[in-house]
């Protein structure tokens, strides 16, 4: 009788140890990626200058004009970059009266070199315009527009600010 009891206990112990092994494991991989770029610079290189304007006479400056606005950018060679503008709706008289003169009909052109010959036209706006740096890490952006002085526009010097924001993508 004693021998039989020991044999049963051994079998039970073996069964219980096997019943505890119910875990299953699996693994999978993903990759973490990053691309290091050099820091970007954006420089306001030239003022958009309408010169003398006359009451009631709209005046436009095109991107190819000698007084068009220009931004010079440097960044990672051949990297993609989004261009976004903050544009005024009026120029403001620097005189104490702070008269307003509407400005709009913006035009833009971008190029890998500092010339408008062969440049790519676009419309500056708050929406991103996709562009790219040249193989040498350069990008030039030219800006034009139209001012519309009123018939009774006050004399004076009118100013406004055009802001270009560039971001890699």
């Amino acid at each position: 009788m004693r021998t039989t009891i020991i044999q049963v206990s051994a079998v039970l112990a073996a069964i219980l140890s096997l019943a505890g092994s119910s875990a299953q494991a699996q693994s999978a991989n993903i990759t973490a990626t990053a691309t290091v770029y050099q820091a970007m610079t954006v420089t306001g290189a030239r003022t958009l200058d309408f010169g003398n304007v006359f009451p009631g006479v709209a005046k436009s400056i095109g991107v190819a004009a000698a007084t068009s606005g220009r931004f010079d950018l440097t960044g990672q060679n051949s990297a993609n970059v989004n261009l976004t503008f903050t544009l005024p709706t009026d120029l403001v008289n620097t005189a104490p009266t702070a008269d307003l003169m509407p400005i709009g009909s913006w035009t833009g052109c971008r190029n890998a070199t500092n010339t408008t010959a062969g440049c790519t036209s676009f419309t500056p706006s708050g929406s991103a315009t996709a562009s790219a740096f040249s193989g040498a890490g350069a990008l030039f952006v030219f800006v034009g527009g139209t001012v519309t002085p009123a018939a009774n526009q006050a004399a004076g010097t009118y100013n406004g600010t055009v802001t270009l924001t560039a971001a890699y993508f």
């Binding site: 079998v11 069964i15 096997l18 699996q26 973490a32 990626t33 990053a34 770029y37």
Partner: protein, 154 residues
């Protein structure tokens, strides 16, 4: 008596052996930091819909799920010559069942193990973010590293 012992062992085996917890893990999306600038730390949140890394896990039977990440501490430049530190913090991972309205659980991917009761539905997604810290003189180029998720159901 011997025959009785053998019959008893067989009965206990079939009655007490639980169904095995079956589990499947799939890598869905890479953790993509994109363009990073020298000297500027860049982070990706686990809730970023485009850039966070993503795993899908599917399990059929079991009481608990254990998640364990194997994380790099640096990304290696493709082509060699440089490494870039990468770090992970508490809250840089999220576990959420696929059923609508499933609650999201925040995880510490660096923990030795994250253990949960299984969700009512048999599958879930795990998202992971992190941060890279390029030096001011970090070499330009692409950097990569491997993130491993191990899942145990028991």
């Amino acid at each position: 008596m011997r025959r009785c012992v053998l019959l008893l062992a067989f009965a206990l085996t079939t009655a007490t052996q639980p169904l095995l917890g079956q589990v499947q893990v799939i890598g869905i999306r890479d953790l993509a930091f994109g363009a990073v600038i020298r000297g500027v730390q860049t982070s990706v949140s686990p809730s970023d819909p485009l850039r966070s890394g993503q795993f899908y896990i599917n399990y059929t039977v079991g009481g608990r799920v254990r998640l364990r990440f194997t994380l790099p501490n640096a990304l290696a430049r493709v082509g060699g010559g440089a490494t870039m530190p990468i770090t992970f913090r508490n809250g840089d991972a999220i576990l959420q069942g696929t059923a609508p309205g499933s609650p999201a659980s925040s995880l510490n991917p660096g923990a030795v193990s994250n253990e949960f009761l299984l969700l009512p539905n048999p599958d879930a997604n795990v998202w992971i973010g992190g941060r890279v810290s390029p030096t001011a003189t970090q070499a330009s180029g692409s950097y990569v590293g491997t993130i491993v998720l191990s899942v145990t159901v028991f």
